[in-house]
């Protein structure tokens, strides 16, 4: 049996029913939309129909998803499931951090945003020592340095306000 406290009696992991149910609902909705979202072409062989492979996918999702749901141990939703769902939603917080970072980079520029984002997230994670905050800044400058990784990220809008030579230097490298 697993050591995971969310594992209930070794039979069912908390949150499994919720996931399986959600998956089947999604699959059924996609099957229902098959006629609307795909096309059936006349005088085209069955296997070459544009609808054929999406149908294989969504019908497979629905059938296997439903069988998986059926084979799960029957159990009512418990407080373990709610606890697990809360953990899932906590992950959404970090996804939002990521999306805010994505949204700010084209405006404020890659390096300045990363210089703020890395220590801020480090702080949020509970690291309060100056050592860790400095390490996060160094990580942002050294490891994620745009010119080192050769990443193609457009310069920030704020760089437009910089004087001539400095502006092109920043757009190119930061």
């Amino acid at each position: 049996m697993s050591d995971d406290p969310l594992e209930t009696g070794g039979h069912r992991r908390a949150g499994q029913i919720a996931f399986a149910l959600g998956f089947v609902v999604l699959a059924v909705v996609l099957v229902a939309l098959l006629g609307d979202q795909t096309v059936w072409k006349n005088k085209v062989k069955f296997f070459a129909q544009p609808r054929f492979w999406p149908a294989v996918g969504v019908i497979g999702m629905a059938v296997f998803g439903a069988l998986h749901l059926k084979h799960l141990p029957r159990c009512r939703l418990s407080h373990y499931d709610l606890r697990e769902a809360r953990v899932w939603f906590e992950a959404v917080e970090y996804a939002l951090w990521f999306l805010v970072y994505v949204w700010v980079v084209p405006i404020a520029g890659y390096l300045p945003t990363t210089l703020v984002f890395a220590p801020l997230l480090t702080w949020r994670l509970g690291y309060r020592s100056q050592k860790m905050l400095w390490i996060s800044v160094i990580f942002a400058v050294v490891v994620v340095f745009k010119s080192v990784l050769q990443v193609k990220i457009p310069g920030g809008l704020v760089y437009e306000y910089l004087p001539g030579g400095l502006r092109s230097f920043f757009i190119l490298n930061f």
């Binding site: 992991r13 949150g15 996931f19 399986a20 998956f23 699959a27 996609l30 979202q37 795909t38 096309v39 072409k41 062989k45 070459a48 544009p50 609808r51 492979w53 999406p54 294989v56 996918g57 969504v58 497979g60 999702m61 296997f64 998803g65 998986h68 084979h71 953990v87 899932w88 906590e90 992950a91 959404v92 970090y94 996804a95 951090w97 990521f98 999306l99 970072y101 994505v102 949204w103 980079v105 084209p106 890395a118 997230l121 480090t122 994670l125 509970g126 690291y127 860790m132 390490i135 996060s136 990580f139 942002a140 490891v143 994620v144 990784l149 050769q150 990443v151 193609k152 990220i153 457009p154």
Partner: protein, 539 residues
């Protein structure tokens, strides 16, 4: 000979040499950090390799893939935490050796076994290359379709006790691949009239979300572990001497690794468990297994390092990836218009041989690096998990955004990241989604092309290789259903014995209670007969 010279010519470039160094050292570092692993690293680095030459990009990725398992054995042996998932079996015998003060011996054995497994599989691959080159052109559309179908079935059935959800997730992957404009008639499929969906869902975005971002979320939500490292003193060369004392275990384990690596969807885990079971069954001291057995450590490490090179065989010869990492590498080939498959063996054999030789050099480089730098390298284990999560999150952004400078891609990747996080929390497989996406695309194209030339479905399997593949598919399915039936019967038998045992237990308890009551009754009556003599006695 000309072929080898032209292959060496490809490799004798400063950027390829640099890629070899970066890949091998980077892979070891990434493997040594528990919680990152080669899948995360490859997902993050994948977009960066698009701007490189195919040989350079692939060498970096291959280096990370091949050398991460060397690095993964370090935390597995020293702190009982596998650096990569495939090093889990190393903890069984590696860590007990550390607890009895033999950490250096364990690490030396792990290095030498990994090196032997890696070199053995590359040599096998080089020896097989002419055979593969002859067989590969015999694969037409139908054969490739059937091989891809076999691959997807093997991937699904390899997830024992999770087959249904693995099949559902593989179907999800197939559906994801169909989103956007259909390749022949250019009709829209599941775009919901959204222009950003017309181009389809990018494989790299899905890979980055499912592997890298989800792992970042896991790390960010976890807790930092306090690590106490054992100091290692002395030379690591003694491992080779000890390995030479177990040639049978090493040879058989490496062979298992090569065979399992070539079969799509089977991979390191099966190879390791088969080797480990074999080593234990044939050992003179099976009781040592799990308590610091050198044979157990050799079996686990040799088998897992023999897989990466072997896994390249179906990818290069047929264009069919066997697992997630080779599926990611396939996208690098596609980006550079190098299409893996029979044509690659016919037209670019020097490229294929150059890849094999680079794998050989990689193993040597990794070993040299490890023999020199292990004492410094083990310090990476101390990096706090959540801080690592922050680093992976930022690097994932670099990976996704540099693809197309699209914020939509980032949002999609975040969505897949949450999905991957949920799947990992529930212990559900992620790999079927990726293989469904990759193999689904291959199957759609090949089925159309194959069916265009046949009149009835039976014509589809009238060629020898197609027939062999079809028989293999049927056999795999029969074996799978037999295993399911056996499991079902065992479960039923267990349920029956449990319920029967409880009935017997209740009956025994009832009889025991009755006999106790009877005994107590006799005792009480006996006492009473002493204190209250019978009325007849009074007279």
């Amino acid at each position: 000979m000309d072929l080898i010279f032209s292959s060496l010519d490809i490799l004798a470039r400063w950027d390829v040499v640099l890629a070899l160094l970066v890949g091998s050292v980077g892979g070891v570092l990434i493997g040594a950090i528990p919680g990152v692993g080669p899948a995360v690293a490859i997902a993050i680095l994948l977009p960066a390799t698009f701007s490189m030459d195919p040989i350079v990009g692939l060498t970096v990725l291959l280096g990370i893939y091949g050398s991460s398992m060397y690095g993964g054995s370090i935390p597995a042996i020293l702190i009982n935490t596998p650096g990569t998932a495939v090093n889990a079996l190393t903890t069984y015998d590696g860590y007990p050796m550390t607890t009895r003060g033999e950490a250096r011996r364990a690490i030396a054995l792990a290095y030498s076994s990994s090196f032997f497994g890696g070199i053995f599989s590359v040599v096998c691959l080089i020896l097989f290359a002419p055979v593969l080159a002859k067989i590969a052109p015999m694969f037409g559309s139908r054969e490739i379709f059937l091989a891809a179908l076999l691959g997807i079935i093997l991937v699904v059935t390899a997830h024992h006790r999770q087959t249904l959800i693995a099949a559902a997730l593989a179907s999800f992957g197939i559906w994801l691949n169909t989103i956007g404009l259909e390749p022949v008639k250019y009709t829209k499929r599941y775009t919901f009239d959204q222009s950003w969906l017309s181009g389809g869902v990018n494989l790299i975005v899905v890979v980055l979300g499912l592997f890298a971002l989800s792992q970042a979320f896991i790390l960010l939500q976890g807790e930092d572990e306090k690590v106490r490292l054992t100091k290692l003193r002395g030379s690591f060369f003694q491992g080779f001497r000890e390995l030479a004392r177990h040639p049978r275990v090493a040879g058989v384990s490496a062979t298992f690794g090569v065979i399992m690596g070539m079969i799509p969807g089977v991979g390191e885990f099966t190879a390791q468990f088969m080797s480990y079971t074999y080593a234990r069954k044939t050992s003179k001291r099976p009781e040592d297994f799990g308590h610091g057995s050198s044979e157990g450590l050799i079996a686990a490490e040799t088998a897992n390092n023999a897989v990466p090179a072997a896994a390249m065989a179906p990818l290069l010869a047929l264009g069919i990836p066997g697992e997630a990492l080779t599926a990611m590498m396939l996208s690098v080939f596609y980006v550079h218009n190098v299409i893996p498959g029979p044509g690659l063996f016919q037209n670019r054999m020097d490229f294929v041989v150059a890849l094999y030789i680079s794998l050989l050099i990689l193993n040597v480089l990794v070993l040299v690096f490890l023999l020199m730098a292990t004492n410094q390298l083990i310090k990476v284990v101390k990096i706090p998990n959540r801080f690592l999560g922050m680093c992976v999150l930022v690097l994932s952004f670099v990976g996704v955004y540099s693809l197309r400078n699209s914020a939509t891609d980032c949002a999609l990747a975040a969505g897949f990241g949450v999905l991957g996080f949920v799947l990992k929390r529930l212990n559900l497989p992620i790999v079927p989604i990726i293989l469904g996406m990759v193999l689904g695309g291959i199957m759609e194209v090949k089925l159309r092309a194959g069916m265009a030339r046949v009149k009835t479905p039976f014509d589809f399997i009238d060629r020898p290789i197609a027939m062999i593949l079809f028989i293999m598919i049927v056999l795999v399915l029969i074996l799978h259903f037999l295993r399911v039936w056996r499991d079902y019967k065992q479960r039923k038998a267990k349920q029956w014995s449990t319920s029967h045992a409880s009935i017997s237990f209740a009956t025994t308890m009832y009889r025991r209670r009755n006999s106790l009551l009877k005994a107590r009754g006799r005792k009480v009556r006996g006492k009473r007969s002493r204190y209250y003599p019978r009325s007849t006695d009074k007279n």
